[in-house]
């Protein structure tokens, strides 16, 4: 069955430079620098990326950072906790906005 997502497309990410090389080169060099060891370890960054991948619900990124966190020695428990962090912020950000709803209710109610 044909679908919009093909796992093989992930490997073709680099091909984006075919249409605009300069910007792609800048992006990939920036990307590499972001994920290098720094004040945060590459392993910590990989777990953050895994969480963000679930927030943006990008199938490519989930695939890539599941592999990457496994390679960097993360446990399944750590990976799931990272996703829960994403879920908590997502859920929390909905819920904290309910204060606005409450404010509005109070404003327009007798």
């Amino acid at each position: 069955m044909e679908t919009y997502y093909d796992p093989a497309d992930l490997k073709k990410f680099g091909n984006i430079s075919e249409y605009q090389k300069e910007l792609a080169d800048k992006f990939f060099s920036y990307y590499g620098a972001v994920f290098a060891e720094g004040a945060l370890t590459a392993r910590e960054k990989s777990l953050i990326a895994l969480a963000v991948a679930h927030t943006v619900q990008c199938a490519y990124c989930i695939d890539a950072y599941t592999n990457d966190t496994l390679e960097k020695g993360c446990t399944e428990e750590q990976m799931m906790e990272a996703v829960h962090v994403a879920a908590a912020i997502r859920g929390g950000s909905s819920l904290v906005h309910s204060v606005q709803m409450m404010n509005k209710v109070k404003q327009v109610s007798m």
């Binding site: 392993r43 592999n67 390679e71 960097k72 446990t75």
Partner: protein
């Protein structure tokens, strides 16, 4: 679980494995190992020295790990005889090869193992043993192995695929982690891995699945931190090893539908520096029956060494140094990323 051989699996035959490796290489849009070496100006691969004689003293093992490239297990009866060991000692006596790397199976299960170690040490050679840890606690007759290793100043190199029971047991069998912890404590107790003891205990990490190992230094840090804080275990270095797509690991890759993806990853990560540092360039591998090979992986694939003397009886160092190394698609496992060898990364 049984070995591939005992269960009559097609991959018990090296020729079937090679056929699959080559067929896949021919039908997929992937460069072959040979073409990658050619483009890096490294073909044919040639020896750079002779630092290690790696001797596989038999395929018998108390474990049946899912990824085992030897297809070892309790049902394997191939064991090196004392006569073949004597041929190895003769070679050591007439050469200056500094290090002997004893592997298996579980090398300690060979009835002549201790005698062999003593004789090699009498020749003044450095000995390392690939000890699977659980053998130490598998039977009372092996409980004194840590002391035996200490007496003979043997380096211990032991597989521990992860610092928790879940991942370790999934790869190596139920209860293996717990027994490994017991064995590591016994090794620590006689001084192995302890600072200043001069007794080296190195651990080997290999991924429990179809992915590559991450950076060795970071994995070592994690292992050291968790093993010390949770189990009071210390060790010297961690070697991060890439799983080579042969034997039981090849079976796992094919059966789980991961083969193509895994090979793509290895090929994409081909690193000429890792190929330059491939362990086959500085070692000779001896099979349980005395046959010589470029490495333990080629041994398991029955890939003959390209020199006139192919048996330890006919060992000729000069001729061996002139040979070309036999390669095939499985070699991508040694050359991906930071490289992989029996001593960890190579690039």
């Amino acid at each position: 679980m049984k070995s591939l051989k005992a269960s009559g699996h097609p991959f018990a035959h090296a020729a079937t494995q090679i056929e699959l490796l080559e067929k896949q290489a021919a039908t997929q849009p992937r460069p072959t190992f040979r073409s990658k070496l050619q483009s890096a100006d490294l073909f044919p691969l040639r020896p750079a020295g002779l630092d290690v004689l790696q001797i596989n003293v038999g395929k018998m093992c108390n474990q049946v790990c899912k990824h085992c490239h030897v297809d070892a297990g309790p049902d394997r009866k191939e064991i090196m005889t004392r006569e073949t060991m004597q041929h190895c000692l003769d070679v050591l006596a007439k050469t200056t090869i500094p290090t002997v790397d004893l592997t298996g199976g579980a090398p300690e299960m060979n009835p002549d193992f201790r005698w062999f170690v003593e004789e090699i040490r009498k020749l003044g050679r450095h000995v390392m043993v690939r000890c699977n840890l659980t053998i130490i606690v598998a039977n009372p007759k092996y409980n004194d192995l840590p002391d035996f290793f200490r007496q003979h100043q043997v380096d211990v190199v032991s597989s521990l695929p992860f610092y928790n029971a879940d991942k370790t047991d999934r790869q190596r069998g139920q209860g293996v982690f717990q027994d490994s912890v017991k064995a590591l404590r016994l090794l620590n107790a006689v001084g192995y891995g302890q600072p200043g003891s001069g007794l080296t205990l190195n651990l080997v990490y290999n991924p429990a699945g179809a992915f590559m190992p991450g950076p060795q230094a970071s994995l070592e840090q994690q292992f050291k931190r968790v093993l010390l804080s949770e189990f009071e275990i210390v060790f010297n270095s961690l070697f991060a090893i890439t799983n080579i797509p042969i034997s039981r690991y090849l079976d796992y890759l094919v059966a789980s539908g991961n083969y193509d993806n895994y090979m793509d990853k290895l090929v994409t990560a081909f690193n000429p520096a890792a190929a330059t540092g491939a362990m086959c360039r500085t070692m000779i591998s001896v099979g349980w029956d005395g046959q010589l090979y470029d490495c333990d992986f080629n041994q398991m694939l029955d890939m003959p060494l390209r020199a006139p003397g192919r048996h330890i009886r006919d060992f000729n160092a000069d001729e061996l140094m002139q040979r070309t190394i036999a390669v095939n698609e499985h070699c991508f496992g040694c050359t991906a990323g930071a490289g992989s060898s029996c001593g960890g990364t190579t690039a």
